[in-house]
Symmetry: C2
Subunit: 338 residues, 2 copies
């Protein structure tokens, strides 16, 4: 018989969790086990806070993904929010609502997937909460980061004339989700398609990139692509009180997404603009910052970046496709769409 | 037709939430609306973090309690964890997984109930997350507090000989839950019973009390009674590496709980020891600290406190009932009990 978490009980699970977490660094003055965690702030730095949830049946399915990759993703979606602020992760909390029938090995896999990423990011797990769920697994992670006050990257700092740069390639995660949704057999997929599924299941937040660009003040604004590229352009433009223009032919569509779009007669640009969960970063960079921006990128491993357009003085968010100019898609709506 | 949250959409709900939150104080440098929140730490203070969830069907039922009181409780259960650390609330995050059919007025009531308590505690809502739930409502709140490094109250500071003091009266919340579970008609209940239901639904964290005792270093250890008095005694003794003895005749059983126990032929002491969710505080106070401890209590409105026992050099957690000494009940197990 497989052990379930119910057989171990809450205290047993907490002990298990603590054992898997390892010893916290010195700035964690009180970690798992008391009523709350205590961490030491960095002198002169600001505290940055973000929280994001993954809900079974909404953000993941247990018959599609391993619990380890679900734990991985629960950390990275939060890390991406810190990356887009230029903040360094310092600690995290993990709140889990779990069905009692959950196998203990699945609990362990979830924790291990989460903690491996937390360790890699230098953000020890310092607390959280375990409770029973009468329905889906609900994973709620909170990340605490720090950033120097004048190094914070927000959505609202962009100015007309700034160039918009996006890291990596887009549309991969949405393609991965579509492939899983269509019941694709992973073993029969080509490398591009498999990479799309991997990007959907195990995103990697651009932490180094966000922190380095922020620290060097090499961009005016930044946002992560959790809800897609079109949404990020809209958000930065709205918060910066500018318009924006995006050039369709410059969008770095992921090869796996392009192949999927061609195969299913879908518009690859539309998929790349509206597909969520890529967790790439979008930066607004002024002419004056450009050299510094590319210097920052070299400093963090030279990730690919593409200039996809500019922030504009005149209002309106436009997509320029060859010589035609149309309204940019309103983008991905991941919740409560009517 | 009643408006549902699905008809408003995520952005609409966030705007609504922001409008209800009001303007944040100056130390919140970036609140709701960006990828993460930014707050300014207090110089020389430590950051204290806690998170706790309320899950529909586990921690509350919508046919028992109003959404306003559920929001109230979601804040207070977290505030209680800060109180027991001696930490002052500074900011909070609210992560909600909601069924799409939720009425908009229920969404508003939930938010208002939460925010009213957040305001009262001086902890502005600075961020969070909204997502769809295919099952129960899941409310996950995270509180961030601050405390001077040497003023932190933990579970582990107790010493043999310390007296154990509990605030207020115990057993009320468990009685309130039992009454609701039995389908009690509130209108036909006496004042004591109604107060028990109120304590279950709308607990009030002992924030002033915890912060003042901590600031004055007037106790060696503290813990809140989220999982009951017996559990709190056990936890403090375990973390402090002491034994403990509790005197049954000194336990401040709430009158409503005593009446309920008498009526249902249950042991009132057992109910008061094992009943969870009272959110009172338990302090371990040395002989030397006693005068300072009572001074601290006077400073925060003189809440009732009762000495229920002592931490002991010899191991074992005992309940002394008249002249008999037996093992203290192992207490409330709120999750995954086998």
């Amino acid at each position: 018989m497989t052990d379930t978490i119910a057989a171990v009980g809450e205290r047993g699970l907490i002990d298990r969790l603590r054992a898997r977490t390892g010893w916290p660094p010195d700035f964690v003055q009180l970690g798992i086990g008391d009523d709350a965690a205590v961490i030491e702030p960095v002198r002169g730095e600001r505290v940055v806070l973000t929280t994001d949830s993954l809900v079974e049946g909404v953000h993941f399915r247990r018959d599609w993904s391993t619990l380890s990759s679900i734990g991985h993703k629960a950390f990275e979606v939060n890390a991406s929010d810190l990356a887009s602020m230029g903040a360094t992760p310092r600690a995290c909390l993990l709140s889990l609502a779990l069905p009692e029938s959950l196998a203990l090995k699945d609990f362990d896999a979830l924790i291990d997937g989460f903690i491996a990423r937390a360790h890699a990011a230098g953000a020890p797990l310092v607390g959280g909460n375990l409770t029973r769920s009468p329905g889906p697994i609900v994973i709620d992670a909170t990340l605490v980061g720090s950033v120097h006050a004048r190094r914070v990257l927000t959505r609202g700092g962009g100015r007309a004339g700034d160039e918009l740069y996006v890291t990596g390639a887009v549309g991969a995660a949405a393609t991965g989700l579509a492939l899983l949704d269509a019941g694709a057999n992973r073993d029969s997929l080509d490398a591009g398609a498999r990479e799309c599924i991997d990007r959907y299941e195990r995103p990697a937040a651009r932490l180094q990139c966000g922190v380095t660009v922020g620290r060097r003040q090499a961009a005016n604004a930044a946002m992560d692509l959790s809800d897609g590229l079109a949404d990020a352009v809209r958000q930065i433009a709205a918060a910066s009180e500018t318009g924006a223009i995006v050039h369709a032919d410059r969008i770095p569509v992921h090869p796996g997404a392009a192949a999927f779009a061609a195969q299913h007669r879908r518009d690859a640009i539309e998929l790349a603009l509206s597909g969520g969960e890529d967790y790439e970063l979008l930066f607004a960079v002024s002419r004056r910052q450009k050299r510094n921006f590319f210097g920052a990128l070299r400093q963090c491993g030279s990730p690919a970046v593409t200039c996809i357009g500019t922030l504009e003085k005149s209002p309106g968010i436009w997509l320029k496709d060859r010589d035609e100019r149309g309204a940019l898609t309103s983008g991905y709506r991941h919740f409560l769409a009517t």
